[in-house]
């Protein structure tokens, strides 16, 4: 269970982040454009996200593949323009970055705070993992969206790696069964393996799909079953990407 202090801390962070969303969003979008990053047919992509998510409120668990440090930024950029996130705070998603990555400099910590990041300690003790799960459950129970990378970190093989799958995403769904799941496959055209940042001038392929994982199993077996269903969907989306002759790779 989260302490009152932790709950209040997350609410304050949410309020601050929401208050600064226009500034932070467009500053980051400008930075991405300055590096030449582009999402072809961005308007179409955003419409597709809008159609998948519909008008209803969260909670949303956005499960994505993971290849670069800015994947969640790219996904958020693809999901909606800043002004829409200003109006729909439930669509401005929380992120769970590695504490080591987000704590490198003071400005990264600041960006992480206003970017609704909850730093997590990878490979940390079980108590730490439980606290993260409690925080996610709290955020989801407030109708928020959370971006999760089921692989736990950037894939070392450049593809969705079922061997690395953490079952935490299944636990999140068990904790908040009302959460809806959106699988997102995002990949730069020149992204062969994992990197810190996409290459300059990168164009991103982004597809999303709703899934409704379900299981009759309980406990850890249930969490594993749910997580495997989500990763199976991401794997299938990746196969579509590599088999699609129309995709510019």
């Amino acid at each position: 269970m989260l302490s009152t202090r932790e709950r209040v801390g997350l609410r304050v962070q949410e309020a601050v982040a929401q208050g600064l969303i226009l500034l932070s969003y467009y500053a980051l979008a400008a930075w991405m454009r300055s590096r030449g990053y582009r999402i072809p047919r961005l308007r179409h992509t955003r419409r597709a996200f809008g159609a998948l998510m519909g008008p209803e409120r969260g909670p949303w668990l956005i499960c994505a593949n993971h290849l670069t440090l800015i994947d969640s930024l790219v996904i958020q950029w693809a999901m909606a323009p800043g002004w829409r996130l200003f109006l729909r705070r439930d669509r401005f998603a929380w992120n769970l970055p590695d504490r080591h990555n987000i704590s490198r400099t003071w400005w990264l910590r600041l960006l992480g705070y206003v970017g609704k990041c909850v730093p997590v300690l990878r490979e940390g003790p079980p108590e730490e993992a439980r606290r993260t799960l409690d925080k996610v459950a709290f955020l989801l129970s407030r109708g928020q969206a959370v971006v999760v990378f089921p692989e736990g970190g950037r894939s070392r093989i450049g593809r969705v790696d079922p061997d690395r799958v953490m079952y935490g995403v299944g636990r999140m769904l068990q904790d908040v069964p009302a959460a809806r799941v959106l699988c997102v496959y995002a990949r730069g055209a020149g992204q062969a393996g994992y990197t810190d940042y996409p290459r300059p001038g990168e164009q991103f392929f982004i597809r999303a799909a709703r899934v409704e994982p379900a299981t009759e199993l309980a406990g850890m077996r249930g969490a594993r079953d749910l997580a495997r269903q989500i990763v199976a969907k991401l794997t299938a989306m990746e196969a579509e990407y590599f088999e699609d002759p129309l995709v510019d790779r």
Binding site: E123, G152, V165, M166, Y167, M220, R224
Partner: protein, 85 residues
Amino acid sequence: MDSATAFGKVVEIIKPFVKNTAAFGEAGHGTRIIEDLGVNSARLVDIILAFEDEFGIQVDDESADRVRTLGDAVQMILQKTAPAN
């Protein structure tokens, strides 16, 4: 079940997940599963579920969290398979 039998079964279950095979060859009760054997932490759940299947036990989250070494695993299994008084 005695400790040596449990240890042997634990080692067999963990074997497919081990990356540090050199350390595995010298594994003892104090060997740490993640740090020493290089087992991916994500696979600990699979290992715990394999214990449940092999030994016919139920492992709750708290017990699972306490398993850090091979000895911890053996201890937990012996406790859960011990006949009730």
